[in-house]
């Protein structure tokens, strides 16, 4: 992929495809300068939007206000997924629903800590909505495994993307990090980014994966590696 630094413009203009978009979003978490630049570009977007403002259809207002009266707001914690996130007809699976809640909470609260800009918060919301859409997809598949050294990991996959979630992981150790990999074949291993632990939990949304690939995690030096340098602590084929 192109150097993510150079993609901030295309990213802010929503001109990237999903895979590149996800790549830039991962990069923004580790690059505060890039996140600031994207925030500034989005502000430019707000200016540009002024240029095309149009009077909305008059009936729109009544419709929106009526909907607003019937729509519950998210709580300030931003963590409570409303029941409308789960489509009717999808059996509620306690594990998944609980996992989705944890994932959403984790993603939402990340914003306040590590991410430096408004944009990152927007990305967190996007991630949360992508995660929620995989977790509630009626066609989703799931697979779980133990993690060497402690903890469990689950991969939920639907529609060509997947959510990796792990719980109760041990700290990777000083100067080390957990890194997620997409494995297509023995020589076809690509990084899906670094996993940030919050109280032993982590989650990630991975684009462009499906049956035949697997998601693996290894312990790598801080900052990550280009290819895994240690034996994976877990490796879960996508069901």
């Amino acid at each position: 992929m192109t150097d993510p630094h150079l993609l901030t413009g295309a990213y802010a203009l929503d001109a990237l495809d999903d895979v590149e978009r996800a790549g830039v979003e991962r990069h923004l978490r580790d690059c505060p300068e890039c996140a600031t630049e994207v925030a500034e570009f989005h502000e430019v977007g707000g200016w540009l939007a002024d240029g095309v403002a149009l009077p909305p259809p008059p009936e729109l207002k009544a419709r929106v206000l009526a909907q607003v009266r019937e729509t519950r707001q998210e709580s300030p914690a931003g963590a409570a997924p409303s029941s409308r996130r789960v489509p009717r007809g999808v059996p509620r699976r306690p594990l998944l629903v609980a996992a989705a809640a944890v994932l959403l909470a984790g993603t939402a609260s990340l914003g306040g800590l590590a991410w430096q800009s408004h944009e990152a918060a927007v990305d967190a919301r996007l991630q949360a909505s992508r995660i929620a859409s995989v977790m509630t997809d009626p066609t989703r598949t799931e697979a779980s495994a133990q993690v060497a050294g402690g903890g469990t990991a689950t991969v939920v996959s639907a529609g060509g993307s997947a959510v990796f979630a792990a719980h109760d992981l041990k700290s990777p150790g000083k100067g080390k990090t957990y890194q997620l990999w997409v494995i297509g074949a023995p020589k076809d291993i690509t990084s899906a980014g670094l996993l940030e632990l919050r109280d032993g939990d982590t989650q990630a949304w991975v684009a462009d994966v499906g049956r035949g690939k697997s998601l693996a995690v290894s312990v790598e030096p801080s900052g990550g590696s280009k290819q895994p340098t240690t034996t994976p602590v877990t490796n879960i084929p996508i069901a």
């Binding site: 192109t2 150079l6 993609l7 901030t8 413009g9 295309a10 802010a12 203009l13 929503d14 001109a15 990237l16 495809d17 505060p32 300068e33 996140a35 600031t36 925030a39 500034e40 570009f41 989005h42 502000e43 430019v44 977007g45 707000g46 200016w47 540009l48 939007a49 002024d50 240029g51 095309v52 403002a53 149009l54 009077p55 909305p56 259809p57 729109l60 207002k61 929106v64 206000l65 909907q67 607003v68 009266r69 729509t71 519950r72 707001q73 998210e74 709580s75 300030p76 931003g78 409303s82 939402a108 914003g111 430096q116 800009s117 408004h118 944009e119 918060a121 927007v122 919301r125 996007l126």
Partner: protein, 218 residues
């Protein structure tokens, strides 16, 4: 640097930070109510469930949201649907807005643009448009987008700053933002290599940012 507060250097909603509890003046029949509170402050009231504040926010932002969706989607019916979705999303998720990270207007416009682009990419219309990229129709498509922007740009400052771009920067930014085109489509339309378009978009935005005074400290 990263933590500095991003603010509008001017424009609707951030003028002079009037006191939060001043009298509200609403011009009946006018194009928009006279802002007596920053949009940030209004959105913070919305986050507390204040429906009257939401109505004020609607009056101040619905035109921008709808116009942006219309610009990207072209189809007025779809634009209306997207505007409705976005405005409802603003109500629902208002508590996530954090003024320290950027203005309410940026927050709303970012959401609106992304939602409109997501819609266009997934819609039948987008597939039909993809199929014609490179064909004569696309040339017209391109002309229409640029022309529309040039004729509708009421914000003098935005126009001034757009004129400060090179023609190619302006074309690329315009097609991507107002036209909702991916950079690959922009590359096809402008007959440029992909990498060139990526850097041109960024260079164009940097120039616009500096011209508009975005990101400079208060």
């Amino acid at each position: 640097m990263a933590a500095r507060r991003l603010r509008w250097a001017g424009g609707q909603g951030a003028v002079g930070d009037p006191p939060a509890t001043g009298p509200r003046v609403v011009v009946a029949g006018g194009d928009a109510p006279l802002p007596t509170q920053t949009l940030d402050a209004v959105l913070e009231r919305v986050a507390r469930g204040d429906e009257a504040a939401f109505e004020e926010l609607y009056d101040r932002m619905a035109g921008t949201v709808f116009g942006l969706a219309r610009s990207v989607l072209r189809d007025p019916h779809q634009a209306e649907e997207v505007a409705q979705e976005v405005l409802l999303e603003v109500w629902r998720t208002a508590s996530r807005f954090e003024a320290a990270r950027g203005s309410a207007k940026t927050w709303i416009c970012t959401m609106a643009h992304r939602r409109a682009v997501d819609r266009v990419r997934s819609s039948q219309a987008a597939r039909a448009r993809e199929a014609t990229v490179g064909a004569a129709q696309t040339e017209r498509d391109y002309d229409v987008v640029v022309e529309r922007v040039e004729t509708r740009l009421e914000a003098e400052r935005v126009r001034h700053c757009l004129e400060g771009l090179t023609v190619r920067q302006k074309d690329a930014v315009t097609l991507a933002y107002y036209g909702g085109h991916s950079y690959a489509q922009v590359a096809t339309l402008l007959k440029l290599p992909l990498g060139t378009v990526k850097t041109r978009l960024r260079d164009g935005l940097i120039r616009l940012r500096d011209c508009l005074g975005v990101g400079s400290d208060d």
